[in-house]
Subunit: 351 residues, 4 copies
C-alpha cells in the first residue's frame, strides 16, 4: 500500500534483464554504444520523426532543464503552471541551467493552464522593452502535476498561442506514457503534430531505474544540447546502461503496457474512494494519480495498517482530529501497484 | 584487446547482482533508501571518518564540480594541473557549477604538480587585490591523468602549502582505488590525514555501472552540497540503484580487488612493452594505465588484429609511415583486462 | 511639463559645481579618493551607523542587485512586491547577479506588501526541503513603485516577519529621500532601527547625474560586496566623480531639500487634479509621483500642448475615444518641477 | 609627478564644459537623448562604418565583458594574452558575463601575441569534441598592457588566423587612441578593415570622466548587447551625461589630441631615462606608458620628492637595498602630463 510516488516502485524485470544483457564485454562510452543507435531509431519511429535528435539523461529535472536551456536566453521567460515541477520541485535548476531565466507562473485548474491564460501572460511581458525580461518559451506538463491530461487538441491550442508569438513549446513528459495512453493519441499526435518542439520523455517514473529521453524534434539544437549535457555532468561514460533501459522500455511497447497498468490502478482506486460517503475527488483521475479527500478515520486506519502516501495539498494535515473531517491526499500508482493492495486500502479507508 | 579506457569495461557481476537485489518492492526515493544508510556507515568506517558526509552521484564530472562549487566562490581560483580532468575533459563544467571560478593551471611531470609549483602559483595570485580573482581551492588528481600516483606524503606536502594559505584541498579520485592500492596506504592516510577536505571517490571506472561518492570530511558543507546536487539535476529519485552499486563495491573490498587486478594488468603490459627494442615509457606505470611508445609496425599489427586504444598525446598520429618510427599511446586496463588479451597484444606489437 | 520620470530631470547646479571642483589634478582611483572618505563618514553620521560599509555605484539596478547578491544564495528566494523594480524593470538583473535566485512575488495595494502577505509567502516556501528553492531575503521598495511610502513602523513590522525566519531585509531606496521626507522619520529610524540590513540609497532620481550608495549596516559583507562590484564592472577608476556627486548631495542636506521640492510638486499636482470633475487618484500621493485618472479630453489638450507622461498602468491607452472617458496616468515630479509647469498642466487638463 | 596610471588624471576642461551644457532641462533617459544620436553618427563617420551599432558604458571592464559575452557561448574559449586586462584585472568579470567561458592564455613579448601562437592555441582546443570547451573568440589589447602597439598589419594577421577558424575578433581598446596615433593608421584601418568585429573604444583613460564606447561593426548583435547591458546594470537613466562626454571627446579630434600629448610625454620620459647609465627599457615605448629600469638610488630620490608610480612587474620591489641595483617600474602618462613634471622627474632619477 505504497502510494507515495511512482518513483518508489522498482524497475520492471525486463529492464533488469536488459541491464544484464548490456553488461557483456567492452562498449564504446558516452553514447557511442550500439544499443543507443537502436534507441534513437526506435524513438524516431515511434514518434514518426525521422529527423529528431534523441538523448538520454538520468533524471527528470535534467531532461527538463537541459531542454529549456536550449530554448531560452538568460534574459527570457519560461511560461509554466504555478504547480509545475520546474517551478516547485527542482530547487531552481531551470534558473541555474538557463543562466537566470524567469519563470512566469500561470494558474489553472488541475495544474493545467489554458491558451487564454497563456496569451494574457505573454502579452503582459512587454515586447522589445529593454527593461523587462523578454518572451521566451512555454512549458507544459503532461500528465500534469495534478494527474490531469492535456489532449492533443489542448496541446495544439496552447501551441497555437505560443507560435503566434514565435515561442517554442516544451513538454515535461515525466509521465508522458500515462498521458498518452489516457488520451488514446499517438506519440506524434501528442507532440510535434500538436506543436511541441522538445519533449522530456520520461521513463523513471514508469518502470525504469533512471532514464529519461529528450527528443528534439528540430535537430538544429542537437550540438548545443550535447554540450550542455556534458557541461552539466550528465553525459554518462558507461552510457550503454542508459541505452539498455530505454531499449527495454520501448521493446514490445512495454512502456505503454506499464502506463496502462498504472492508470488502471489509479482508476480502480479512484472509483473505490468515491463510494465512501463524503469522499470526493480534488482533481479528476485521468492518469496514474488520485487526488481525493475522505474522512480522517479512514486515513487513520489505512496509515496504521502501513499505507504510505502524502496529505495533499496540505502536507501538514494530521491524523489528530475528528474522524469525520475530510482530509485530502495524493495517491500515486505505478506499473506494479497490485489490485490486492488497492482493494485492501479501499477496505481500510471505507471503514 | 580493448585499452581505450577503463570506462569501456562492463560492471562486475557482483554489482549486477546487487542491482537485482535492490529491485525488490518499494523504496523511499532521493537517498532515503536503507541501502544508503549502510553505504554511508561503511564509507565512514573505511575512511575512519565518523563525521564525514557522504553523497552519491552518477558521473565523475559531477562529483568533481559539485565538490569544487562547495569550496570556492565564483571570483576565486582553482589550482590544478594543466592536464587535469576538470580542465581538459569537462567542457567547462567547473566554471558552470562554480559560477565562473578561474582554473589556474600548473605544470609538472606525469600530470602531477609539486608543492613548489603550487606555492608559486598561489603567491602569484594577489592577495586582497580587488581587481584580481582571489585565491580559492586546490585540486589534485590521484591517480593522475598520466597514470602516476601521489603518495600520502606527496599529498600532505601539497596540503601543507594549501593550508598555509588557508585554501581547501580537493582530490579527484576517479581512480582513487588504483592510486590507493598502488601506494599501499589506507584510505584515511591518503585523504584527510594528508589534508584532503573533499574526495571524489570514483567507482565508475573501476567496475561500477555509474556511481561516484563524494566524501566531505568536514560535514559543514553537507546541506549546501545537497542543494547543489539537486539544483544540478543530480539527485536520483530511484537512488537505491546508486546505493546498491556502491554497497557491492565496498563489500568484501571488491573495489580494492578490482583496482589491484587493473593495476596488475597494466604492470604486465608495461613490462612486456619494455622488452621491445626501442620501446620506452612516456610516464611511469604506477596505476592502471600505460603510456608508452613503440615502433609503428607494432601498432599496425595490433590494430589490424582489432586492438583498440588511443595514440597519445598526439591523437592524430597515424599508421602511415615508416615501421620503425616510435609512436606513443595510452593503454588503460580495468578490473577485467585478461592476461590472454595482454599477452596476445604484446605478441602483436613485438612482431 | 515633463512628468515622464524623475530621471528625465537634470542634475542640481551644486552637483555640477562639485564635479568641477573634483576635476583638479590627480586622484587615486577606484574609491581611494579623499572625497570618498568624507562621503563614508557623512553617510555613517547621517544614518547614525558608525560601522556601516558604504559603496557607490552608478545605477539603481546595480545598487539593488549587488546588495541582493550579497544576501542570498543562488538557490534561495527573494520576496518582493510583484510591481517591484527588481521584478519589472531590471531585465532579470537580480537573477543574473545572484546566480539564479527566484523572485517570489507578493501582491498588495499601492505596490506595498503587508507583513501577513510576506509571512504567508515565506511559510509557503518549504523549509529544509531539498526539492524546493530555499527561503532567502526580503526586498521592499520605499517609496514604492506606486508612489506610496512605508512608515518606519510598517518597515519594522515587515522586518519582524523576516527576522522571525532569520531572513535579511533589503530596502530599494531609489526614492529613499522622497520616502524619508514624506514620513518625517530620521534615516536611522527608516532603516536599521526598523530592521533594514542593506539599503540602496538613491541619488540619481533625486538630482544627481548618476550615483547610488549602498549602505551595508552589517559590514561583514563588505569585502564580498567589493568583489561583486568589481566583477560586475561597476568599480569606477575615476571614482572621485561619483564621490563628488554624493558629497554635494549630502552637503547642507541638499538631498532632503530636493526631495521636499519634488514631493511638494506632486502634492500640488495631485490636489489640482482632484478638483477636476470625475478625476480620482489610483494611488495616494505620498511622495513625488501622482497616479490619477481624469477625462481623455484633458489628456488630449495637455499632450497637444507638449506635456509628456505615461498612461498607467495601461501604457497602450490612447487619445482616440470619447472625451469624457477616464484614463489613468503616472506623473512624476522631481526637484526641479516648477509650479508654473504644474499650474499650466492643471489648466490644460481641467479644460 | 604622478605616473601611477592614466586613470589618475582629471577630465579635459572641454569634457567638463560639455557636461555642463548637457545639464539643461529635461532629456529622454536610457540612451534616447539627442546627444547620443550625434555620438552614434560621429563614431560611424570616424570609423567609416555606417552600419555599426554604438553603445556607451562607464567602465572599461564593462565594455570588454559585454562585448565578449555577445561573442562567445558559456562553453567556449576566449584566446587572449596572459597579461590581458580581462585576465589580470577584472576579477573574473569575463567568466561572470559569459556564463563561464574559459580564457586560454597566450604568451608573447610586450603583452602582444603572434598569429602563430594564436594558431597553435586554437589548434590545441579540440574541434567538435564534446568533452572539451569549444573554440570561441579572440581578444587582443591595443595598446597592450605593456605599452606596445599592434600595427594594422599585425591585427590583420591575427584576424586572418581567427577567421580561418571562423572565430570573431575583439579588440580591447581602453587605450585605442594611444595605439592609433602611434600607428598613424585610420580608425577603420585599425579595426574592421583589419578584421576586428567588436571594439572596446576607450575614453576614460584618455581624458574623460568615465565613458567607453562599444562599437559592434556587425550590428546583428545589437539587441543582445542592449539586453546584456541592461541586465548587467550598465544602462544609465541619465544617459545624456555619457553622451556628452563622448561627444566632446570626438569633437575637433580632442581624443587624438589628448592621445598624442600622452604619447609624446611618454616618449620624452623614455628618452630621458635611457640617458641614465645602466638604465634600460623593459618594453619598447610605443604609446603612453614607459616600462624601464634604472638604479634604486634614482627611485629613492624621486619617490622622496613625491613621485608616484608602481614598481613593475615586481610590485613588491623596495627602496631598501644598494643604490646601484636596477629596479624596473611602470610610468604612465596622460593627456595632461606636463613637461616640467617629466623633466623634474628625470632630474631626480638621474641623480
Amino acid at each position: 500500500m505504497i502510494f507515495t510516488s511512482d518513483n518508489a516502485s522498482p524497475a520492471h524485470p525486463r529492464v533488469m534483464e536488459a541491464m544484464q544483457r548490456a553488461n557483456e564485454g567492452f562498449a564504446m562510452p558516452y553514447g557511442a554504444d550500439p544499443i543507443m543507435e537502436n534507441v534513437t531509431a526506435r524513438i524516431r519511429e515511434i514518434f514518426e520523426a525521422p529527423e529528431a535528435a534523441v538523448y538520454l539523461v538520468a533524471t527528470g529535472t535534467t531532461a527538463n532543464v537541459l531542454s529549456l536551456a536550449c530554448l531560452v536566453e538568460p534574459w527570457q521567460t519560461i511560461y509554466c503552471h504555478e504547480a509545475a515541477h520546474i517551478q516547485m520541485d527542482e530547487c531552481g535548476a531551470p534558473e541555474f541551467y538557463t543562466g537566470g531565466a524567469k519563470l512566469v507562473l500561470l494558474d489553472g485548474d488541475d495544474a493545467k493552464f489554458t491558451p487564454d491564460t497563456l496569451r494574457r501572460a505573454i502579452e503582459t511581458t512587454p515586447q522589445g522593452f529593454v527593461h523587462s525580461v523578454q518572451r521566451g518559451a512555454v512549458s507544459l506538463t503532461n500528465a500534469s502535476e495534478a494527474g490531469a491530461v492535456y489532449s492533443p487538441a489542448e496541446v495544439a491550442a496552447i501551441s497555437e498561442v505560443a507560435k503566434a508569438f514565435d515561442l517554442p513549446l516544451h513538454m515535461d513528459g515525466a509521465r508522458f506514457a500515462n498521458a498518452l495512453v489516457a488520451s488514446g493519441a499517438s506519440p506524434a499526435e501528442m507532440t510535434w503534430k500538436a506543436g511541441v518542439d522538445v519533449l522530456s520523455f520520461g521513463g523513471t517514473k514508469n518502470g525504469l531505474i533512471g532514464v529519461e529521453a529528450v527528443v528534439l524534434f528540430d535537430p538544429n539544437r542537437a550540438w548545443e544540447f550535447e554540450l550542455r549535457r556534458k557541461r552539466g555532468g550528465h553525459l554518462f561514460s558507461k552510457h550503454r546502461y542508459l541505452s539498455a533501459q530505454m531499449e527495454a522500455y520501448l521493446d514490445g511497447d512495454l512502456w505503454l503496457e506499464m502506463a496502462r497498468a498504472a492508470n488502471r490502478a489509479a482508476g480502480r482506486l479512484s472509483k473505490g474512494i468515491l463510494t465512501i460517503p463524503g469522499a470526493s475527488l480534488v482533481h479528476p483521475t485521468q492518469a496514474n494519480a488520485v487526488f481525493a479527500s475522505w474522512p480522517r478515520g479512514g486515513h487513520r486506519r489505512a496509515q496504521q495498517a502501513g499505507a504510505a502516501y502524502y496529505f495533499w495539498p496540505d502536507m501538514n494535515a494530521t491524523l489528530d482530529g475528528p474522524d469525520e473531517e475530510m482530509i485530502s491526499a495524493r495517491l500515486v500508482c505505478s506499473w506494479c501497484t497490485g489490485d490486492e493492495d488497492i482493494d485492501r486500502f479501499l477496505d481500510l479507508i471505507s471503514g
